[in-house]
Symmetry: C2
Subunit: 137 residues, 2 copies
C-alpha cells in the first residue's frame, strides 16, 4: 500500500525519514527537481549533505535520473517503469518551459532514432526541448 516503502525496499535501502520525504517530493512533483528545490521543500529539516547523498543514492539505484541542463544545475526526475532494475531506460523527451521554468518528462514522447556518422557508437540519447508548456500556453 505504501508506495514509498515499496520503492525503498525494492531497492534494498533502509527506510529513513530523509529518504521518505525526498522520495515523496518526487512522487508529488509533476516535473523535475533541482537540488535547491528539494532543500526548499524540506524546509531545512535535513542537512544539505544528506540531500546530496540521498540524491546520489537514488540515482545509483535507478529511482531517479538526471536531466541535462544548459545552466550549471542538475535536475532530477523520477524514473518510470523499468528503470528500477539498476540501469536506466529513460527513452523519453524532456521539456523545459521558458515561462514557468518547470521541467517535465514527456513519457509519451519517445526519443527519435538518430543516425551517427561512421565510427561513432551510440549509447544514450537525451533530448531536451524548450518552449512553452501546456499549462502556460
Amino acid at each position: 500500500m505504501d508506495q514509498l516503502l515499496d520503492i525503498l525496499k525494492k531497492n534494498q535501502l533502509s527506510v529513513t525519514e530523509g529518504r521518505k520525504k525526498i522520495l515523496e517530493l518526487f512522487l508529488n512533483s509533476p516535473g523535475a527537481l533541482a537540488h535547491a528545490d528539494i532543500e526548499k521543500n524540506t524546509d531545512a529539516s535535513f542537512d544539505r549533505v544528506t540531500v546530496y547523498r540521498t540524491l546520489q543514492t537514488f540515482v545509483e539505484k535507478g529511482i531517479i535520473h538526471n536531466i541535462p541542463t544548459t545552466d550549471n544545475s542538475i535536475l532530477y526526475a523520477l524514473c518510470k517503469d523499468n528503470c528500477e532494475a539498476g540501469h536506466h531506460h529513460d527513452n523519453h523527451v524532456h521539456f523545459i518551459c521558458d515561462v514557468c521554468d518547470k521541467t517535465i518528462c514527456l513519457d509519451n514522447v519517445s526519443i527519435p532514432e538518430v543516425k551517427l556518422p561512421k565510427g561513432f557508437k551510440q549509447k544514450q540519447t537525451d533530448v531536451v526541448i524548450s518552449g512553452i508548456c501546456d499549462e502556460c500556453n
Copy 2:
C-alpha cells in the same frame, strides 16, 4: 583576413586580449569547452571573472552556445553558420564521448522532428548523445 577580429567586429565587441585569446581557443578546438578548460588553456593570464564575463558576452552575441550536460557544468561550443545574427540556430546533435570525455558538435547530423503533445509550443531542441567517438573507437 584575421578571422578573430572579423568575428569580434561583426558583433560590435571591442577587441581585447582576453576576447581574442578565448575566441582563438574555440576556433582551434574540435569540441566543446567548459569554463575550466578555458582557465587551464589560458594559463591564468586572465582573471576568472574575465573568463566568466567573456563567455557570457559571447553567448549573448551568439558567437558560442551552450550545451546541456548531466553534470553540473556548462559546456560551450562555437556557433556555426548563421547564429551570429543574435538568435541561435543550433540544429545539430552534440556527442559526448565516454572515453575521451570530449564533446563534439556533429554539424552534419541534424535534429530529428519531435512531435509534442497538444498545448506544447516548441522553440529549441537539444540532442545530446553519449557513447564512443570515432577517434576512441
